[in-house]
């Protein structure tokens, strides 16, 4: 009957740093065990061929693994092969929605890195646009080439002399999808200007995370299971993942894609279905309502149009509630896919974006175009593509002398006069070393981005080119054109 121990912790934190270290170590070990076991099962699954709901597009399923061959050094140090099955991906998110702090950030950055690529490679439009299709190329490229040819027909650019008629092999050629070709394959919509993020609602809270996995906001929302109110909260398996752009001026999340809804994965659904689902479901929830206590930010959908002349015109000119940053083109049949994809494209000009030309560290548009390339062990300077495109070389002596290391991202300026396009491929010729890139950069520029910037400076792809490409009257010639080239 000793007197009660009264003393409570006074001016002290409840958990010791040592206990924290133990817990973190345990968390890491469990994660790694489960990774190893999953890896073991996945190896097996290559023999078994896991049934994939998206099997018509089986080629796509391989893509994340291919992307993994080149993990980004900053964001994905562990470079675990990502789950190939779409199920694997959203499962991870359920689990991850319970993680906190550093672990969560790490987790989401791994998810996001691959996801982000889909839109972070937007400038692939230019190259796809320029690449006329060959008969053996995929339907997608055929489809792209339709526009290419259309432009060439309508051709202010051809006149400018860019020798873009030759096909250029896409670095991700294998990642194509067998889609039937018919008009109206694409959707177009204006891209809101702002921070691209993942919004996850689960366990009664909503978290938005930037592409590096760090939290942008944590807030209650009317998304399913997005707030701890009686109406909204739900069992742990009810969660949503939305691909959004947070638009600062009106503090609104513009939803540009839907990945999971109430725990139901839309990874392997066509864009057509995802947009349909997004438009019908999001409104039902009240997520588009004005902010309130249990709904701190408004969500909004972006008007999506069929990519024909009328739709394109509307997307380009119609007034919207947000500042535009270019146009996005989605392939109607494309699944939501991690990594670099030609199935979603971005295009911009001064009319629909404030940020057409890249700026330097001071926010100025440099006189000469600059590119950021990655230094490889051999001295090669490459883009962030898969496989990487070589744009130049550094003498070993030079980089050893300057203390540069393999993997460094380096900034160069382009000598316009030495740029050439050979067989439709851009070659930079002489480039001038400026120094290390901003160290917050995660990736080198992609080939298509360099190309887009180059043409934007010299002979930008005009809106009327886009219009011409979807002009039905030009379709016929289009085919001829391809054949001629092929």
């Amino acid at each position: 009957m000793a007197p009660h121990e009264l003393r409570r912790t006074f001016k002290r934190t409840a958990i010791s740093d040592q206990q924290r270290r133990r817990d973190l170590a345990l968390l890491r070990q469990n994660q790694q065990r489960s990774d190893s076991q999953n890896r073991a099962r996945r190896l097996a699954s290559s023999v078994l061929a896991l049934p994939d709901p998206s099997s018509p597009a089986e080629a796509l399923v391989d893509l994340p693994d291919v992307v993994d061959v080149h993990p980004d050094l900053y964001l994905d140090p562990s470079s675990e092969p990502e789950a190939a099955s779409p199920a694997g991906r959203h499962l991870d998110v359920v689990e991850a929605s319970n993680l906190k702090g550093r672990t969560a950030r790490h987790w989401f950055s791994r998810q996001l890195m691959l996801m982000e690529w889909m839109i972070d490679v937007p400038p692939s439009l230019d190259r796809d646009w320029y690449s006329p299709s060959r008969s053996d190329q995929s339907a997608l490229e055929n489809q792209l080439s339709k526009k290419v040819s259309g432009r060439e027909e309508g051709a202010p650019r051809s006149k400018s002399g860019s020798p873009t008629e030759q096909p250029s092999p896409l670095p991700w050629q294998h990642a194509t999808q067998d889609v039937e070709e018919h008009p109206g394959q694409k959707y177009v919509f204006a891209r809101p200007s702002g921070k691209r993020c993942f919004v996850v609602s689960s366990n009664g809270t909503t978290v938005s995370r930037l592409r590096n996995g760090s939290v942008l906001h944590r807030f209650p929302s009317s998304l399913p299971n997005g707030a701890r109110t009686k109406e909204i909260s739900a069992a742990s398996h009810v969660f949503c993942i939305l691909d959004c752009i947070f638009h600062e001026p009106d503090q609104t999340y513009y939803v540009i894609d839907l990945i999971c809804w109430r725990g139901y994965s839309l990874y392997d659904c066509s864009a057509e279905f995802r947009f349909f689902w997004l438009n019908s479901k999001l409104l039902e929830t009240g997520a588009c309502d004005l902010p309130s206590v249990y709904h701190r930010y408004r969500f909004s959908v972006v008007p999506v149009y069929e990519c024909n002349q009328i739709g394109l015109q509307k997307a380009y000119t119609c007034g919207v509630t947000f500042a535009k940053d270019g146009l996005l083109f989605y392939n109607r049949h494309a699944n939501y896919q991690a990594g670099n994809t030609p199935l979603a494209l971005v295009w911009k000009d001064e009319f629909c974006s404030k940020y057409v030309l890249d700026t330097d560290g001071e926010g100025q548009v440099p006189i000469q175009q600059q590119v950021v390339l990655e230094l490889q062990g051999t001295g090669k300077l490459t883009t962030h593509d898969d496989p990487p495109i070589v744009f130049g070389y550094l003498e070993r002596e030079f980089f050893q002398k300057t203390g540069l290391q393999v993997g460094n991202l380096l900034r160069f300026s382009i000598m316009d006069e030495s740029v050439r396009t050979v067989d439709g491929k851009l070659e930079l010729g002489e480039i001038k070393f400026l120094g290390k890139a901003n160290r917050f950069r995660a990736f080198a520029d992609s080939y298509s981005k360099v190309f887009f910037q180059h043409t934007a400076r010299h002979s930008p792809l005009q809106f009327m080119d886009l219009m011409a490409s979807v002009d039905p009257s030009l379709h016929y010639e289009n085919t001829e054109d391809s054949e001629m080239i092929g």
């Binding site: 007197p3 133990r22 170590a25 065990r33 099962r41 050094l73 199920a87 702090g101 942008l216 249990y294």
Partner: protein, 871 residues
């Protein structure tokens, strides 16, 4: 013998060390030679009124230690030893003990009470000594008050030792009646009343039924409340202790007493002596604990119209409670911050205020703000400190939105107080309050930004300056920096701390070298803060973290050597090594998490490993837990390259695996084996014989803490996955172990929550082992070796399914095992699988599960199973 025995007992307490040592050895010898006689001599000594009190008391204590130990396994052994004694010996010992209860010597009576309770704790649950309680109750009616007192004390200890189930309700009622009567104001003898009050505190656990009865409860409460008004301070204190116990055990029965409770406690807090006032404050802290738990469990948003069993006592008492507590804050003691053991009314009051804030949230703010404004700038340090402490106390609980305006105003004031206030006490509390601001009002999850890049620099300047202040202030400043850094955990690639990162690190290192860093936990706080700063750093400052490696290594190097240290020095050395290894662990993990920094870090691994091994070598029988943890991180970062360290490291790995006493060390070492498996893969093979031997030995020992067993099973899986079919030679040992453990894990009936959790952990470990083994053998020509075990494994899965008490994690692992079994054994196992319930009903249930993790594993299993069955 008798006189001699008394002398030995007296000598055992002698100030002469050699006499003491000799006496202790004689006692030990006696015990080993003839245990029954030893017990009889001890109880005889205790019961003998002719003997000196000191020898009687020690005899009682030695007797008690022969019956009971803290550690559960030892405790069980001692109980068994007692039970196996000859009945006449036990009866004689018990007789002596009961007889001692009537002794005029208080110490002898009290010691006997405790020993009786220990024996009751062993025997009553086994339906032995049934006459004990009846005998004690009959003693109550003795006229001699000292017998009555000793009996009540015995009943109190007995209630502490014995679980309520072991005593039938009728006897419970009689015990309570006796105790409550002893507490009554009509009891003339205050020592009887005190013993009764203390006994009630222990007996409350027995009173569940009585507390459900309004009349009985009213009566007990009335008697307790009356005792709080006793003229004896010890009785008042014990009575308040009863109220504290009641507040947590019978929270839901308190509604009709709360007004009285407030009046009684308020009077005590304001006017009674400190020991009583502390208990009165504790009453409210305990109510807060209850309500925080309830609200936590039911979720604060649900409460308004649902039936969360919360009575909102705190919310109702708030307007009166807060002023009462604010008054206590002004009763600080000088230098309480330097005294680790201090606990006074001001500290208890502030702590209670903090709990109240967590309970009611925003409502507390308007009640506290006027006090802060009134006092924060007063000339008397007590007022400034009390105001600051009040402010710090209410930072957790209210919404950041509610607090933000005040915190914004206060921040500059606090920073300048930390720099300039003449009172150390005020500075200490100010630094602590700043830490609380950073902890609760800063970070990616907080919307209202208090810390901006602008004021961040100013804050850092002040904190770094205060780290040079007296140790207690410096320690709190380190703590504040810890939370400031933590708030930038999710900051992305650019942290506002980066520009001053080098200065921060330097300042913290300087603190660790202060002459007085041993005071106020200062050195520990500095290293912990350094760890957090490193953890939350961005790649901008990776180069500084890298530079830290040789610095910390140098520090660790300096702790080595010193062969002939006395134990005090040895302990200090070990503590410092722990801090440094912990710091290296954090750095290794940080640098290892990005490819570039990992590459740069690799230059140091040889030296680091060498240092860790020398840290291990500083000790004899045990390994250093922190060094072990750090090695796990190192193995993870270095991967295959760790192979070259294995030879040197292996002896310590073995040592860690054998450390049963510090089971945390053992558990961590088992975890490190897992790290090694993943890092080395098949290269771990040469060490597997030894590792497996130890793991198997550990599993069969009942000295090892049960929580380590399931990680060991998981570790089997890690090993099998790493070495593949080479696991063959361990199958005949590991499989039967897994088999019997799996049987045990399905035989748990009527388990409490803790046991259910443990059982599921165990099952998960077993299943992870099976998965690893199947996966390891996949595509090997030796898969047939696993066939004989398949029926039992499938049966285990069936049993788990039929028991219906799996948690989701076990379900996921279990269905994964089904898949792995089918996948590895293929069509050979087809008939077996198709006959098991698991392959159909269990699999279907998993496929239909709402949990995606289960569903995913089930999808995989379905595919493997269908292939195995269809051939």
């Amino acid at each position: 013998m008798s006189m001699e025995f008394t002398q030995i007992l007296l000598n055992a307490q002698s100030i002469d060390a050699s006499a003491r040592k000799y006496a202790e050895e004689s006692l030990k010898q006696f015990q080993d030679q003839n245990f029954p006689n030893f017990l009889l001599s001890l109880s005889g000594e205790l019961a003998n009124n002719e003997k000196p009190v000191d020898s009687r008391k020690l005899a009682g204590l030695v007797l008690k230690n022969a019956l009971d130990a803290k550690e559960q396994i030892r405790k069980n052994e001692l109980a068994q030893r007692w039970l196996s004694l000859d009945a006449s010996v036990k009866a004689q010992v018990k007789g002596c003990l009961l007889q001692t209860l009537s002794s005029p010597a208080l110490d002898a009576r009290s010691t006997a009470s405790q020993v009786i309770a220990k024996i009751a704790g062993i025997e009553l649950p086994r339906q032995q000594w049934p006459e004990l309680i009846r005998y004690l109750l009959s003693n109550i009616h003795q006229l001699q008050s000292h017998v009555k007192q000793a009996t009540l004390e015995t009943l109190g200890y007995l209630c502490e030792e014995v679980s309520p189930e072991a005593v039938d309700q009728e006897q419970v009622n009689e015990i309570l009646t006796a105790v409550v009567q002893g507490m009554n104001a009509s009891e003339g003898q205050s020592d009887v009343r005190l013993s009764a009050t203390r006994a009630l505190c222990n007996a409350l656990g027995f009173a569940r039924e009585n507390f459900s009865n309004d009349m009985e409860r009213d009566y007990i409460m009335r008697v307790v409340c009356e005792a709080t008004q006793s003229p004896e301070i010890k009785i008042r204190q014990a009575a308040f202790e009863c109220l504290v116990s009641i507040s947590s055990a019978y929270y839901d029965k308190l509604a009709s007493y709360m007004q009285d409770m407030f009046n009684i406690t308020a009077k005590a807090v304001r006017g009674d002596e400190e020991p009583v006032a502390l208990q009165a404050i504790e009453f409210w802290s305990s109510i807060c604990d209850e309500e925080i738990d309830i609200l936590d469990e039911y979720g604060s948003e649900f409460v308004a119209d649902s039936e969360a069993p919360c009575f909102y006592f705190i919310k109702q008492a708030l307007p009166a409670l807060v002023p009462m507590l604010l008054d206590t804050l002004l009763k600080q003691e000088e230098d309480q911050d330097q005294d680790e053991g201090a606990w006074n009314t001001a500290m208890a009051g502030g702590t209670c205020l903090g709990l109240i804030s967590r309970t009611v949230g925003d409502d507390v703010v308007p009640l506290v703000m006027p006090f802060i404004e009134e006092n924060i700038a007063k000339p008397d340090w007590r007022q400034r400190e009390a105001a600051t402490y009040a402010f710090g106390s209410i930072l957790e609980g209210p919404s950041p939105e509610k607090l933000a305006p005040m915190v914004n105003v206060a921040l500059n004031f606090m920073l300048s107080a930390l720099m300039n206030d003449p009172s150390n006490h005020v500075k200490d509390t100010t630094a602590w309050t700043l830490g609380r601001i950073f902890e609760f009002m800063h970070g990616s999850v907080v919307e209202t930004a208090i810390i901006t890049p602008d004021n961040c620099k100013q804050i850092l300047t002040v904190l770094l300056h205060s780290m040079k202040d007296v140790p207690n202030v410096a320690e709190k400043s380190c703590g504040a920096l810890y939370f400031l850094a933590q708030g930038y955990e999710d900051v992305g690639s650019t942290s506002p701390l980066s520009p001053l990162f080098q200065d921060i690190v330097q300042a913290l290192l300087t603190v660790t070298h202060r002459e007085d860093a041993g005071e106020s936990r200062l050195r520990t706080a500095a290293y912990e803060t350094l760890n957090e700063v490193v953890r939350c750093s961005t790649e901008e400052t990776a180069s500084v973290v890298l530079q830290l490696v040789p610095v910390i290594m140098g520090e660790l190097h300096q702790t080595l050597g010193g062969q002939n240290m006395v134990s005090d020095e040895k302990e200090k050395q070990s503590e410092l090594q722990g801090l440094l290894c912990g710091c290296l662990q954090v750095i290794i993990q940080k640098l290892g998490s990005a490819e570039l920094t990992k590459h740069a870090f690799m230059q140091y691994t040889d030296q680091i490993m060498d240092l860790f091994l020398r840290v291990f070598a500083c000790r004899n029988a045990t390994v250093h837990e922190e060094a072990m943890l750090a090695i796990g991180a190192l193995a993870y970062s270095t991967g295959h390259n760790f192979t070259k360290y294995m030879q040197g490291f292996y002896p310590y790995l073995e040592m860690g695996l054998q450390n049963f006493e510090e089971y945390q060390v053992c558990a961590i070492t088992v975890g490190v084996v897992g790290d090694l498996c993943r890092a080395l893969e098949v290269k771990i093979l040469p060490f597997c014989d030894g590792i497996m031997t130890h793991l198997l030995k550990n599993l069969s020992s009942n000295l090892l803490h049960r929580s380590v067993k399931s990680p060991i099973f998981s570790c089997f899986g890690d090993i099998a996955l790493a070495i593949g079919e080479n696991f063959e030679k361990y199958l005949i040992y590991a499989m039967p172990m897994l088999q019997s453990a799996s049987e045990l894990s399905t035989l748990v009936a009527d388990a409490d929550d803790e046991m259910v959790v443990h059982t599921n952990q165990l099952r998960n470990g077993i299943l992870e082992a099976y998965s690893g083994i199947f996966q390891g053998f996949k595509n090997s020509p030796k898969t047939q070796l696993l066939m004989p075990y398949a029926p039992h494994i499938l049966q285990f899965l069936d049993t788990l399914y039929n028991e219906k008490d799996m948690d989701d994690i076990v379900m996921k692992t279990a269905v994964g095992v089904l898949g792995d079994l089918a996948d590895t054994l293929g069509t050979n196992a087809g008939p077996l699988i198709s006959h098991s319930v698991s392959s159909k009903d269990f699999l279907d249930e998993c496929l239909a599960s709402d949990e995606h993790l289960i569903q995913e594993s089930a999808e995989w299993a379905k595919l493997a199973v269908s292939r195995a069955i269809s051939g």
